[in-house]
Subunit: 259 residues, 2 copies
């Protein structure tokens, strides 16, 4: 099994509200088609310009405080916006003949301190058994501590990796992988293989790249470290054709985590 | 707690694909507003002209047989169509200030012989605790026997009623309640109170009304009989203003089940 995280910045232009990179998604679907059904997949996508503006507008991360009535409405609106992005992705995969099937993350997960503390995975298991490609997404979620919160796609990937022990976990980003510093800065170099010590060093000297409301690259690396004990973990540029195929075949591409 | 079933024929014109009775839904939302948040609610809606044409086209009820690849695609397309109807309902409730929150039925239920045999309700419980109005819907679902199948809204209502023992369960239909025979036939009379024996008699002399792919009125009555042991059950015309309020207040309206 392979778990693929479709980063929000890959599927959508974060600066253009409700934008969808259809061509990028079509390429990704075509690459997956080369391996499915021999290989099974779970996909998890981020919020892009559907999720983040709503999450910010309604201050979901602050929890169920202040204008509680308004918060509840905003919480639901944010989920509905995520379902719209999810629909675009599902439809793109279906058109390419892949049996993607939507699972609403907020219907099966409960979180605390931003981390999943409860997940109902039986339906997901059965969908895999029946040959489907379950598609989950970063979402609003009920939080045991704050009432409501944002559940990031990276959290979901980490949780699923722990539960299913996939052979590979591939993070699709809009840069070529993990860099020695913020890739927008001069002198930033792509790290082709990253060890446990390398990640710890990066985290210390961190703020390595842009931060978004779901945590940014620092959290991603912490998660990668947890996952890398049982899965091959790749960070690749999801906008570059054939990159995903290379990662699935175990070829050199992007950043590979070695622990 | 009150569980309300919004029948497909109330929210949508079954003869007009993808039609939505916005005004009817607005009236229903306004009536619920008079009782929420003092009273808590779970809503379940049917497929109307979003669900049934897709379910039929892709022969979902036949299970994962024949053109299995095509079946998987159709299964997912039918779910996505249901999510579109669900979005229209959620948005209507949000506009009326009610914190409706979508739960994807197929993310939490597994079925066998058309009946729910496994349900993950923890998120739903927490949503209720936090003051939300969970909204579920008739949906495609993974089936332990046939691989895939249709899960009717009535099945969901029955399951939730058993689990939550609501004070009332109200079925909104496009006729005034349960009749002595098919309400389209001459001489059909509305039954104001229906006993266990009355239901058994009706079921025997049945085919009392039109049949749809999710079972029709016969199954509805069997479900009502199961539920009526712990909840007040009403069948009312959801298109008539103020009917829902009357049922919630326990006034005489439509058909009330007495066991």
């Amino acid at each position: 099994m392979i778990v693929i995280k479709l980063g929000g910045s890959v599927i959508s232009d974060k600066n253009v509200p409700y934008s969808f990179n259809r061509e990028v998604l079509e390429n990704i679907a075509e690459e997956i088609s080369q391996f499915y059904p021999k290989e099974s997949f779970i996909l998890v996508h981020g919020g892009g310009s559907f999720g983040h503006p709503n999450a910010r507008k309604y201050k979901i991360r602050e929890g169920l405080t202040g204008d509680v009535k308004g918060k509840r409405i905003g919480f639901s609106k944010t989920h509905q916006a995520m379902l719209k992005l999810n629909d675009l992705i599902i439809q793109t995969f279906l058109e390419k003949g892949l049996p993607a099937y939507s699972i609403s993350s907020s219907s099966i997960f409960l979180i605390e301190k931003g981390e999943i503390v409860y997940g109902e995975l039986e339906v997901l298991r059965k969908l895999l058994e029946k040959g489907f490609i379950p598609v989950l997404f970063g979402d609003t979620a009920v939080a045991l501590d704050k009432g409501i919160d944002i559940l990031s796609g990276d959290q979901i990937v980490c949780y699923l990796a722990k539960m299913f022990k996939p052979s590979k976990v591939v993070f699709l980003m809009d840069v070529d992988g993990i860099y020695t510093k913020n890739p927008k800065e001069e002198g930033a170099e792509l790290i082709k293989e990253l060890t446990k010590e390398g990640i710890e060093h990066l985290l210390e000297s961190s703020e390595s790249a842009g931060i978004d409301v779901t945590g940014g690259i620092g959290n991603k690396l912490k998660k990668a470290l947890e996952i890398a004990h049982y899965s091959d973990v790749y960070f690749i540029n999801g906008k570059v054709k054939e990159n995903l195929g290379k990662a699935i075949r175990g070829e050199k591409v992007g950043t590979r985590i070695k622990v």
